[in-house]
Symmetry: C2
Subunit: 396 residues, 2 copies
DNA sequence: CGGCCTTTGTCCTGGGTGAGGAGAAAGTCG
DNA sequence: CGACTTTCTCCTCACCCAGGACAAAGGCCG
């Protein structure tokens, strides 16, 4: 099942591959406009790429006023596998070399079942996608896990919500199973890379990507590159204290952001409100389902339930408080909010914005968009594909 | 008074210049070990540098077992001017090309007197240093100002504590006056660069440098490079909220870190304590001087004054609270604390450490040193020299 | 003190690379 | 249909640079 053995031989070829990945099919002339190489040099490098099979001819380009140029594109048969392991579900997608998602599967699953069970599931999903004719094999795979990762080795380290994964050689194991190169990263970083590649963060060099799901994390992009920190735990903002002596948190402290607002906390609050008789809407849903989730709160809120709206607003304030601090510190050009609770949508966004614009200094917030992610569920898998393609499209 | 017109012609020469700057005089052979160039290529580049006069021969090196090598070093006559404009004082220093401080002057001065008055002062101090025979002229100057800077242009933007400087063309003006290239940056960033070059942060790629003076700021170094943010206001952590509905701050909000702990806040608290009869020690000092400063608190604390110790501890808790959040977010390899209040020393450090180690996650704090800066008053001017030398020792 | 080894520095050459000109091929526009 | 534009290929020439050969300079040991 080994497929793409070819790798760019030098930085020029790597550059060209990335241009083709990000810009789609392109004529040699257009490429020449972007890379500052002499025509002869460019021709040589393109010919070499054609030889490797990574790149193929793709008909004629439209004329720019003279002779029409021959288009080239990345090999249409290249396939990347993007895997996004969340706390409660798994996403697997197949992309082409331009990182367009060709097929996508989602499956509920508790990450605490451990790496072996999850891997089995992931491989089954990948096989299913392959069986449906989307891919004959994979040229590379990216995988995101909900916890810190020692990036160079691709191994989770001390992940609080998935203790069974500590030290499990994810990269090694998946590479063995799939027979292709694999890169591993934190799921939040992948979401950031996804939004950077195909979402709202295109053309922004420095931005933050806050993912609110079961937990809360933040992807940090500096100068176009993901910042992972010295131990791979950068962006772990879920345990920043937002309420002095607040609610007890699983981490042992009190008043952590995650304890006061996250998918899990929101569900708990909603159930409390339902049982306490504060919201008929929520009580009805609890009656129906036996338990509540963030999605129930979102639904209740859009049905006008005052309690749900208040819960969201309050949560938004807490997140906003942290984001405001991070904005002052980091001075990003954009803040993206995504993750499972984006269903809470504009109510959440509004209260986050209010809090940030009120608390941070004007110079930092003056031209700072705070927006929802564009890619939704596909952000993670797109980012995963981007991760492995960045790796493969770099000099060997 | 123009001096060094020469600039490295390519990246190799730039690399060599930086090696000589950071490592002092060096033999050709030693340089060869570090740069991965063929001996012939290296010889050519070194010869060219010798021709420009940037580099000079410096006798024979010790033998490494065979023929002795000829040492080379940066021209001993090269001089950089480092200027550090604080809120209440100005530091000016002369360094050689290895960024060793040859002479240093400090002068109390209120930055709010405006750029014209401050420039006059700075130029007078530079002239004095020159007159004392330390320099015949300057090959470049770096200058730090206590507020955000639009870095490429070298112009302060919307600085809260020095409104008169907004938009003043610092770089342009100083370059005119001194007749040499000038670079401008935030004073905190310069402190970080100073500690990176010659202080505790040598060999650390990602670290934070918290400067506690009249205000509070934080230098951010990512992958060896200072992160300035999209509008140059990164690291502006003085207005992060630490106490909900806390003390009113000059910025219009409440509970800002700066309002609860900084040189200015500490002095105010001390005076209140003295007047309120809580501390005989402080009252005596207030009696004597008519007002109190952070230095008085430091002195009282080391004399054992309980109130002062408590003030410092409380302040340390507030700073520690913010640093803990930043550590979770950024996952640095080192936190340096410096600035005027380092006189508070280990009492402060201890309470910051306690707070950080207690509040942040073990993975981020596990191997995280939190230390005082090594360079004291010289950090800023050293960083300023480093800034301009980085600029000059890069390909034209 | 004298051979032998190690290290350093210089010279030279051969392979490789890449910039840019010339010109052919392919289109557009009037 | 002809003049102009754009694209692409070929070719040449200058430059660069790695590495070998060799000379110079010094240490080490008997």
């Amino acid at each position: 099942m080994r497929r793409m053995t070819a790798r760019p031989a030098n930085a020029h070829q790597a550059r060209l591959l990335r241009l083709l990945r990000d810009g789609g099919p392109n004529s040699r002339a257009q490429l020449g406009d972007q890379v500052d190489l002499s025509r002869s040099k460019l021709a040589v490098e393109v010919d070499r790429l054609l030889e490797t099979g990574l790149v193929v001819a793709d008909g004629l380009a439209a004329s720019r006023g003279g002779r029409r140029s021959h288009n080239i594109r990345l090999a249409p048969g290249l396939r990347f596998l993007g895997v996004d392991i969340g706390a409660t579900s798994v996403d697997v997608a197949v992309t082409n070399a331009e990182l367009e998602v060709l097929g996508h599967l989602n499956q509920p699953m508790d990450v605490r079942e451990g790496p072996v069970a999850v891997f089995e599931q992931v491989l089954a999903m990948a096989a299913k996608l392959r069986a449906s004719g989307l891919a004959e094999g994979f040229d590379g795979a990216g995988i995101g896990v909900p916890g810190p990762v020692r990036f160079p080795e691709g191994v989770p380290v001390a992940p609080p919500i998935m203790p069974g994964w500590d030290g499990f050689p994810v990269r090694e194991a998946l590479s063995q199973e799939l027979g292709c190169p694999v890169m591993v990263d934190n799921d939040v970083n992948l979401m950031a890379m996804g939004e950077q590649h195909a979402g709202v963060a295109r053309s922004v060099g420095d931005f933050l990507c806050v993912k609110i799901g079961t937990g809360i994390g933040c992807g940090i992009v500096v100068g176009g590159e993901v910042h992972r920190g010295v131990t791979g735990s950068a962006g772990d903002i879920g345990h920043i204290q937002v309420v002095p002596d607040g609610r007890p948190c699983a981490c042992g402290n009190r008043g952590c952001l995650e304890a006061h607002f996250s998918g899990a906390a929101l569900a708990r609050d909603a159930e409390d409100a339902a049982r306490g008789g504060h919201s008929a809407e929520l009580a009805a849903r609890l009656e129906g389902a036996g338990r509540l989730t963030a999605a129930d709160v979102a639904a209740a809120a859009s049905a006008g339930d005052a309690t749900s709206l208040e819960l969201i607003r309050e949560g938004g304030n807490h997140v906003g408080q942290v984001i405001a601090a991070l904005v002052s510190f980091f001075n990003p050009g954009l803040v993206v909010i995504g993750g499972g609770v984006t269903g809470l949508g504009h109510t959440l966004l509004a209260s986050v914005r209010t809090q940030v614009y009120r608390t941070s200094l004007p110079l930092a917030t003056g031209n700072l968009p705070i927006v929802l992610g564009e890619l939704g569920q596909l952000a993670g898998v797109t980012g995963a594909a981007r991760l492995i393609s960045d790796h493969l499209f770099s000099p060997a």
